[in-house]
């Protein structure tokens, strides 16, 4: 399933880019993320618990950042699998400076498999958008909370 959209982060572009690459920030912003451990260059092992009302599932997966073009774009690849199936999101995030901060537009695809694919297609679109929305909302909160602190190095 193709997915695209954009979100306004109220921070300057360079700061937005750094936040989006900071594993500490990503760990807090990714909905349901329990742990995020570095396993390679721009590659992390992630455990997450997705909860939506009655539906819940533990996912074990990876987060990877690819094709980084500092301060302007990069690819974010998130994949996870668990008992209820697997999911993979692969999106190109493009940053541009706009009034009030940075516009982050995303363009990519979401793949799911297993039970969630078989019974959840009716809801895949709306729930994917909700997860992305939550991610950016948390990111905005993190940006505000972290103030001007330097992002973690060596990522």
């Amino acid at each position: 399933m193709k997915i695209s959209g954009s979100y306004l982060l109220p921070v300057p572009q360079a700061r937005a880019y750094d936040l989006l690459q900071d594993p500490m920030v990503l760990a807090k912003a990714m909905p349901g993320c329990d742990t995020l451990d570095r396993i390679g260059d721009k590659e992390y092992h992630m455990k997450m618990k997705m909860v939506m009302a009655s539906i819940s599932g533990l996912f074990d997966g990876k987060v990877r950042i690819a094709d980084p073009q500092p301060h302007s774009s990069f690819r974010l690849i998130v994949e996870g699998s668990g008992k209820i199936g697997f999911m993979k999101g692969d999106g190109l995030l493009t940053l541009t400076t706009v009034e009030g901060g940075t516009n982050v537009s995303y363009d990519g695809s979401v793949e799911v498999g297993g039970t969630i694919a078989a019974v959840g297609q009716r809801l895949l679109d709306s729930t994917s958008r909700m997860i992305i929305k939550r991610f950016f909302e948390k990111l905005t909160a993190e940006a505000a909370a972290s103030g001007t602190a330097a992002p973690a190095a060596n990522i």
Binding site: S54, S56, T115, Q121, R122, L123, M130
Partner: protein, 281 residues
């Protein structure tokens, strides 16, 4: 289709129920029409289910002081057939009659349905159009939330940890008010591809109040306020209907793309408004 092993409690008093769910580790179940299928698919695997179906006096449907009180465990069938609902907020009875099939309506409850918050469920369109309030209680709190602030996102509501839906409060409608719930049912699931609830009041031959609730179109049920304003300011139905869904991100799935859904919402909004207007006196 076998759920994971779970513990089960069936309290008979509200106090007991609220104590059981206080720490948020246990899952509330009423009719089980949403939860049980998810558990059988193993998409939901609660360790402990608290069945509030046996809590006494939780399925009341009463009217006092111009307000209709609907207990959380009132079934869809109860709503569909209740003289109070049919007399005082018939829109809700009409919506209830569209839910699932007879078996589901006999088991499923209004509290369970709204707490589950499926973005294509039938009730939310009517509840936002009726400006209903949802009363939430926990062992420590008792508060009321407007329907429009209750439904937040797909499967996400304002219910906090330890809380459960106690009752739904709806102001009694005047008999002169016109109403209609129209729905395009998905041929497999029966869920609303789109569902539109309309209320129209007339004063001196003119529309004095319009409330339009929409479900299925967007991630959550919403009131089509632009359309309402157009109706209330003398705009015709076609113009008002064309404004339904403005600014909303439309859902899409195998059965209906976002564009088609948006179009359906407008067509059926017009049809719902037409019937509601014809019923208003």
């Amino acid at each position: 289709m076998i759920p994971q092993e779970f513990d089960y409690s069936a309290p008979t008093t509200l106090k007991e129920a609220l104590q059981l769910i206080a720490d948020g580790e246990r899952k509330v179940m009423a009719g089980g029409m949403s939860l049980v299928p998810l558990m059988k698919l193993r998409l939901a695997a609660p360790g402990h289910v608290v069945d509030i179906g046996r809590v006494s006096d939780l399925n009341h449907i009463t009217e006092s002081g111009g307000v209709v009180h609907i207990g959380a465990t009132a079934t869809h069938h109860d709503l569909e057939t209740s003289p109070v609902i049919r007399g005082r907020c018939p829109l809700l009875a009409e919506a209830a009659s569209h839910i699932g099939d007879t078996q589901v309506r006999n088991m499923g409850t209004i509290g369970g349905s709204i707490a589950h918050a499926d973005p294509a469920a039938d009730y939310p369109a009517s509840l936002v159009a009726l400006e209903a309030r949802i009363r939430l209680v926990s062992a420590k709190s008792d508060r009321t939330v407007a329907a429009s602030e209750f439904f937040l996102d797909p499967f996400t509501t304002a219910v906090e940890t330890g809380e459960m839906v106690l009752e739904i409060l709806v102001n009694s409608e005047e008999p002169s008010e016109g109403y209609r719930y129209e729905k395009v049912a998905h041929p497999a699931s029966g869920f609303a591809v789109v569902g539109v609830a309309a209320r129209i009041k007339k004063t001196a031959g003119k529309i004095s109040l319009a409330r339009i609730g929409v479900t299925g179109l967007a991630p959550r049920a919403f009131r089509a306020t632009a359309a309402e304003k157009l109706l209330e300011s003398g705009g015709d139905i076609a113009k008002a209907a064309a404004a339904v869904g403005e600014g909303q991100e439309a859902n899409s799935d195998l059965y209906a793309s976002a564009d088609y859904r948006r179009h359906l919402a407008r067509v059926w909004a017009a049809r719902a408004m037409t019937v509601a207007l014809s019923r208003a006196s």
